[in-house]
């Protein structure tokens, strides 16, 4: 991959990768660090990476780095606390988006990742599997269960509202 192609990847995918990480860990600064680390890793291996597979490389590297950070249990509490605090102060949701975000927050990190890779980036089950280290069937099950969980959550809140 040339330097020009690398810079193109920065322009095209930096936002996507950041959004993917940030929606997972809900820590802007740490998300920035993970994105920067990801691109540094990519730059180090710039000669070995094919431009067509740069996007998947970025998301794979970012996902692995994010999982390592999450497993340190630094962000789980932060993520749940974010919405738990919200629920304690807000008895009702004025915005469907908030309900959806809350439903999304109830998923585990793997479900969140596969759903975002599916919905945000349009990856196939196989591609998602390569990024997350899962097989195709596992990815499908995670997505189905995630959607079902979110649908039940959203349905219950909508009925209440």
């Amino acid at each position: 991959m040339t330097v020009t192609e690398y810079n193109t990847c920065v322009k095209n995918y930096a936002d996507s990768v950041f959004r993917f990480i940030y929606k997972n860990i809900k820590d802007e600064e740490k998300a920035k660090d993970i994105v920067q680390d990801t691109f540094v890793k990519m730059w180090v291996k710039v000669d070995d990476i094919i431009a067509e597979k740069a996007k998947s490389y970025l998301f794979t590297a970012a996902y692995n780095t994010m999982i390592d950070a999450i497993r340190k249990d630094k962000y789980k509490a932060t993520y749940e606390d974010h919405y738990d605090d919200y629920l304690t102060t807000h008895n009702t949701f004025n915005d469907l988006k908030e309900i959806i975000n809350l439903a999304f927050s109830k998923l585990n990190e793997t479900q969140r990742s596969v759903v975002m890779l599916r919905d945000y980036e349009g990856y196939s089950y196989d591609e998602i599997g390569k990024i997350t280290g899962l097989n195709e069937s596992q990815v499908k099950v995670y997505i189905y269960r995630a959607r079902l969980s979110m649908k039940k959550f959203i349905g219950s809140y909508e009925n209440v509202v």
Binding site: V3, A14, V17, K23, I100, R147, K151, G155, E158
Partner: protein
């Protein structure tokens, strides 16, 4: 096959799975009527396996037992598959038609649609410029090391040549400074008649000789002389050292040999009987100039001695000899010119000849008060005149 007590359970299961046709279903019901106990169990089984609709969803009861691709047990999966685009086109069409037919199914479908996330365009990575790289490639390590080594060698070479250049420049500067100083010294030493003195350059031995008869004495005898000689200059400001004074071919000890001096005397014969009035007075300056002499010895009219130095009978070896040799620079090689030689008394020993012969004679004459020395100093403390007068001959 006829339904009996041994195979009725199979028919019951098929009935609940919806796989029993109408004839077999009727036969099963007839068998159960004939067996009240079994019929009671069948009814209990029917009541307990009846599906309960979702709390907030109510489906058409026709879906309960409808052997279609979607039912209450699998409608979630089917709807998710529809959202994920995992169904074939025909399956999609069927499912969409059923969604349109059943409001509850449609509502469920809408909830599933909401689970499909939409990217938030407001979430952006700031400062992308920090990730941008300049268009140069990372050089291999061996090239980086080679470049550093080449740069280091270049620096050493430049430093070496710069150092040599500076040394040469410094040498040239030093020579220029020396020449300038020599020029300034020459100017300082100009005579009253504005006759320039040309300084000669001497090597170390020459300088030793030049600056020091004393130094030579120190070397030879290890004795420090009592007086340090100044550079002797005659009235004409002639440097008495005209040539290399060294005359030591053996190069053993540095024995300074002053240039022989010309000493003129207007009366080589000291005769008490001759009075000043009788002898013509010789112009000292003229006499020196005409004879290119260095020292003028007047007649014996100079009786009064002043500043007689180092005339000490007891220390005569050191004093007089040193004085004569160092201060007057008179040696056996000194040339004495006698003018106005007395014509009477050939037996009289001329002072000039005596002086010219050897210092010992001079010494003897001095010790015997026959020879006296007088020095006159100028304002700078330098010897201006020297007179050696012999008396009592």
């Amino acid at each position: 096959m006829e339904i009996n007590i041994n195979n009725y359970e199979v028919y019951v299961i098929d009935f609940f799975d919806g796989m029993l046709n109408e004839i077999d279903s009727a036969n099963l019901l007839i068998f159960l009527d004939q067996n009240p106990v079994l019929k009671e169990e069948f009814e209990i089984l029917i009541n307990s396996s009846k599906l309960i609709p979702l709390e907030h969803n109510s489906f058409d009861s026709s879906l309960l037992l409808k052997p279609t691709n979607i039912n209450v047990n699998n409608y979630d999966e089917k709807l998710i598959a529809l959202i994920e685009n995992d169904l074939s086109q025909s399956e999609k069409d069927v499912l969409l038609s059923e969604i349109n037919s059943y409001p509850d199914l449609e509502k469920a479908y809408e909830l599933f649609l909401k689970t499909k996330l939409i990217p938030d365009s407001k979430i952006l990575f700031k400062n992308k410029e920090s990730l941008i790289k300049t268009p140069f490639r990372i050089l291999p390590l061996y090239i980086q090391i080679s470049a550093i080594a080449a740069l280091f060698i270049a620096v050493i070479i430049v430093f070496y040549f710069a150092n040599n250049f500076n040394s040469k420049n410094q040498l040239a500067n030093n020579e220029a400074i020396v020449k300038a100083k020599q020029d300034s010294i020459s100017k300082i030493l100009k005579s009253k008649n504005n006759i320039p003195i040309q300084l000669q350059r001497y090597n170390e031995k020459e300088m030793l000789a030049f600056g020091g008869v004393n130094a030579a004495l120190v070397k030879k005898n290890g004795k420090k002389p009592m007086v340090s000689p100044a550079i002797p200059l005659n009235k004409n400001n002639k440097n008495l050292f005209k040539e290399n004074p060294l005359n030591n071919n053996n190069n053993q000890s540095v024995t300074p040999i002053p240039m022989p001096k010309k000493i003129i005397s207007d009366n080589g014969l000291i005769n008490n009987n001759i009075t000043q009035t009788e002898l013509p007075k010789l112009d000292e300056k003229q006499a020196l100039k005409e004879n290119n002499a260095d020292i003028y010895l007047p007649n014996n009219n100079e009786i009064a001695f002043q500043n007689i130095e180092s005339v000490n009978i007891e220390n005569k070896d050191r004093s007089l000899t040193s004085y004569l040799k160092n201060q007057l620079q008179i040696t056996a090689q000194s040339e004495v010119i006698a003018v106005n030689k007395p014509t009477n008394s050939a037996e009289n020993i001329t002072l000039a000849e005596s002086i010219g012969l050897n210092v010992l004679s001079i010494y003897n004459m001095v010790s015997n008060h026959d020879l006296k020395v007088k020095k006159t100093y100028n304002n700078d403390g330098e010897i201006e005149k020297v007179r050696i007068v012999a008396t009592g001959w």
